[in-house]
C-alpha cells in the first residue's frame, strides 16, 4: 500500500489530540498485527486496525479522517485485551471519531433510522452515542 511520510507526528496537532483524547501512546505500536487478525469487523474495513497506527505514526491523519474503519469498529475490545503492548485500540478509534463528532458531525441521522419499532433501545442509544455528537 501507498503512504506518504508527513512532518514529525510529534508536532502534529491532530495526532496530539488523538493521543490526548484516547490516553494511548500510539508510538508504542510495533505492527505485530494481532489486532487485525482477530478483529471480527476487519472484513468490512478499508484500513486495518494495525494500519491505523501506521498512519498515525506517520502523521497522516487526513487519510484516517476519510477512512471508514473508525466508523466500523464496534468497540468489542477484542484487540484491546490482546494487544501485547497494552494499547486500548477501541479508545484510539473513538478518538478519531471524536475528532469529527466534536465538530458537530453526524455520522448517523437519527431521523432516517428504519425499524424503530423493533430495534431494542440499547441498539439506538449506543448507536447514537457513538455516531452523533
Amino acid at each position: 500500500m501507498k503512504y506518504t511520510i508527513k512532518k514529525d507526528p510529534h508536532e502534529d496537532e491532530r495526532v496530539q489530540e488523538i493521543i490526548e483524547i484516547s490516553g494511548q501512546n500510539i508510538f508504542s505500536c510495533y505492527q505485530c498485527g494481532r489486532c487485525s487478525s482477530g478483529c471480527p469487523m476487519a472484513e468490512f474495513m478499508d484500513i486495518l486496525p494495525n494500519q491505523v497506527f501506521m498512519y498515525l505514526q506517520e502523521g497522516d491523519v487526513d487519510t484516517l479522517l476519510k477512512a471508514k474503519t473508525p466508523w466500523i469498529c464496534a468497540a468489542c475490545f477484542t484487540c484491546t485485551v490482546r494487544c501485547p503492548v497494552g494499547l486500548d485500540l477501541a479508545a484510539v478509534m473513538e478518538a478519531i471519531r471524536e475528532l469529527q463528532l466534536r465538530k458537530n458531525y453526524d455520522f448517523v441521522d437519527p431521523y432516517k433510522v428504519e425499524e424503530r419499532d423493533i430495534l431494542p433501545p440499547i441498539a439506538l442509544v449506543s448507536n447514537f452515542r457513538k455516531f452523533t455528537p
Binding site: 485485551v81 479508545a91 478518538a95 433510522v113 423493533i118 441498539a123 457513538k130
Partner: protein, 296 residues
Amino acid sequence: MPLKKIMFYPGCTLKGVAKNLEDSTLATARELGYEFVELPNWTCCGAVYGLAQDSVKFTIANVRNLIRAQEYAEEIGDNRLVAVCSMCYNNLRRAHLDVMRNRDKLKTLNIFMDEEPDYKGEIKVQHYLTFLKEYGFDEIAERVKKPLKGLKVAPYYGCLLLRPEEVAIDDREDPNILENLLETLGAEVVDYPLKNECCGSYHTVDKREFVAERTYKLVSVAKEVDADVIATSCPLCFFNLDRRQEIAAAKHHGFEKMPIVYFTQLMALAFGINDNNVLHFEQHYISPKEVLAPWL
C-alpha cells in the same frame, strides 16, 4: 421462608423487547429464594461507556444509578446490585471502577449532582451469572426438576461480559461460567469456538448487512458444532442473532435458521417453570418452541 431482597437493575430493553429476559430472571431468582427488587428511580445506563479520557457525560447517569443503589442498599442491607443485560452490567461496573480510580472525576460528578448524596463507592455491581456462581451451581442443581437432557446448547457470551478485562466475569479468551451453569441444568454444552466474538452490536441500526454477515457466521458455526440453540445474556446479541437471520437467510443459499434463547429461559424450563408469561416466546423472531418441545 421469606424471600431475600436483592437490588435488581433491569435497564430499558428488558422493559420492552426483552421482557422474556426480565421475567425469566425474576422467576428463576424467586425459585432460588431471592426477590429481585427493581432499583427505585433507575435511569438509562447509556449502553456504551465513553472511551475518551475527558468524557464525563457517559458516567453521570451510571453514578446516579449507583447513588440510588447506595440509598436502597441501606434499606435492604445488601450492597449487591444485580444486572442481567450485558450492556447495563458493563456500564455500571465500569462507571464504578472509573470513579474509584479517578477521584477527581468522582468529585466533579458529586458536585455536579449536588442534589444527590455523594457516591461512596460501596456498591457491588454483579452480573446475574456471577450472582448464580456465588450462590453455588451445586445448590442450583438441586432445584432442577426437568433436566435439559439431550438439548445441545452453544453458549454465547458476546463482548461485554468478558471485555475489557477489568469487568470480565470470567477468563476473557476461554470462559466457562455459562457452560458450567448449562451443564448444571442438564444440557449438553457444545464446544463453540465463537463464544466470545462480537455480533456487530449497534451497527444493527445503520449497517444491518454487516451484522447479518456476523450472524451468518455465528449461527452457521453453531450449526457445524451441532448445536440446537444458542444461549446468550445480552439483549442486543439476542436481537442481532435472532432477527438478522432473516437477511442472512436471504443472502446465503442453504443457510439454516437456529433459535436463540436467553440462558435464564433455559434455567426457567429446567426449574419446571413452563409459563409463557415468563418465557414470552412470542418475542422471538425464530421460535424455539419446536426445539424446546420436550420441556414445554
